[in-house]
Symmetry: C2
Subunit: 309 residues, 2 copies
Amino acid sequence: MKIQIVEVGPRDGLQNEKEMVSTSAKIQLIDKLAAAGLKRVEATSFVNPRWIPQLADAEDVLKGIERQNKVTHSALVPNLRGMERARESGLTEVALFMSASETHNLKNINKSIEDTFPVLRQVAREALALGMRVRGYVSTVFGCPYEGNVPIDNSRRVTNELLEMGVFEVSLGDTIGVATPKQVREVMEKIVKDTTSDRLAGHFHDTRGTGLANVLAALDTGIRTFDSSIGGLGGCPYAPGAAGNISTEDLVYMLNGMEYETGVDLNLLLDAGAFIQQELGRELPSKVLKAHLAAQTASSSHSNQEDGA
Amino acid sequence: MKIQIVEVGPRDGLQNEKEMVSTSAKIQLIDKLAAAGLKRVEATSFVNPRWIPQLADAEDVLKGIERQNKVTHSALVPNLRGMERARESGLTEVALFMSASETHNLKNINKSIEDTFPVLRQVAREALALGMRVRGYVSTVFGCPYEGNVPIDNSRRVTNELLEMGVFEVSLGDTIGVATPKQVREVMEKIVKDTTSDRLAGHFHDTRGTGLANVLAALDTGIRTFDSSIGGLGGCPYAPGAAGNISTEDLVYMLNGMEYETGVDLNLLLDAGAFIQQELGRELPSKVLKAHLAAQTASSSHSNQEDGA
């Protein structure tokens, strides 16, 4: 069975990095991800650079990367101004975003949920008129840092509004990484009923170690598209130091091991992970990357340490 | 539904620590784990101290901890000499161990699988005669660092031999952390058929991030007992730097969130995790512990950093 992986590291991951990453490193990363077999890569964001200086080089990144027919590069677009920049960069896919919880939406977008709809509708209309595909993100589906529990009906409403705007797929986000598999099953089952499972994606953060277990639960509900981040890049802005998105390496390891078809070559993916870890100069959360690099070190030092018991 | 958690941090975790941990710290850790509501704690090992100097203080640890009726403390016992030490320490439960793969058994126990059975049988007989409960561990059930793939029938054979010796429960170990949920389901389903699910436990390492997903898969097969390690203590001796056992904090977070009854108070558990992290002076792998400590830091510094997008 085929699984689509949407690589969000260059955007959702890097936007959380304090130290500026060079445009050249971003370009190399994105090209390595494509080379590993990832067919959908969210490359950058057209949010106002004042808010995310790290991604202010969006145009240059998109100019530098290798455009291939096999790979769809996309970018986050908050409004018509962002949409215009995306068009000028020749993108064929953009992504809209908003939250399922009022307070998070207000803090993040500076608008109420109700006032966000018309803005996004206008952007979607414009993108569709230009022949682009439009993706939608819903944040805080499984919990809000301000409101705590988020009623499923809030997420359903936002999801359905986005679908009506013409987005081809809505990514349901566990923004702060609090979900457990039981909740994932319950939420996904309800939202799937409003549409079809191929129009939904799971976007999990591994802040509490449940990321891949949540993927497993979502698979049970028919979801076949998952967002992940190379190296497990990305943090949780409400808990500095905590882990970010589920790692693409870990996701691919699990899915390939379960005989799902991801189309991704894990070894090439690990090259991409090692590359960006080296660039950032700190150990990234991906466990498969850690195990891979540790095994390399061990074999190169011919360690003969044995198991104690 | 009730889940039993077997805390193996003080043994399986600490035995991998190079720096000596003080006896006093071990005692405090074990008592904190019991205070958090863990009813089964593997406290130490009676393996020859020459092989595991870190646990050479087994007698002193068992003398120092608070013995309560509610909590069963156990220790690893490799042979009659170890059994004698366990008896002198007044333990009511011991654990035997061997591997499902020939090469790992040979490297770890210095005997073939065939030659290990009579030794363990003798220890089991002695322990049962003394009125003790005997647990069994099978290592490398999901993969061997020397042989790679391990046939399920090997694991079944070793498991069944241990059950025939009178062990009340066999813990099936993913020693090197390579399992994926599909494999866990297949292996567990077959082994469960030879006995009953309440006589089996899942012992997963989180070396590749699949630990909690594997727990979820094992739950599907009826397994209700899981081994885990406070803080995610423990390493993989074949890949220094890689992650060890699944973290008790992460496991409890997931299970409590799914409304399973673990009997464990997550806040008290986090105190135990923070304590041993402080003692060891390095960041432990547990993600829930990381998120908890990061949130504490954030709230104490009144950070007002906002989400970028």
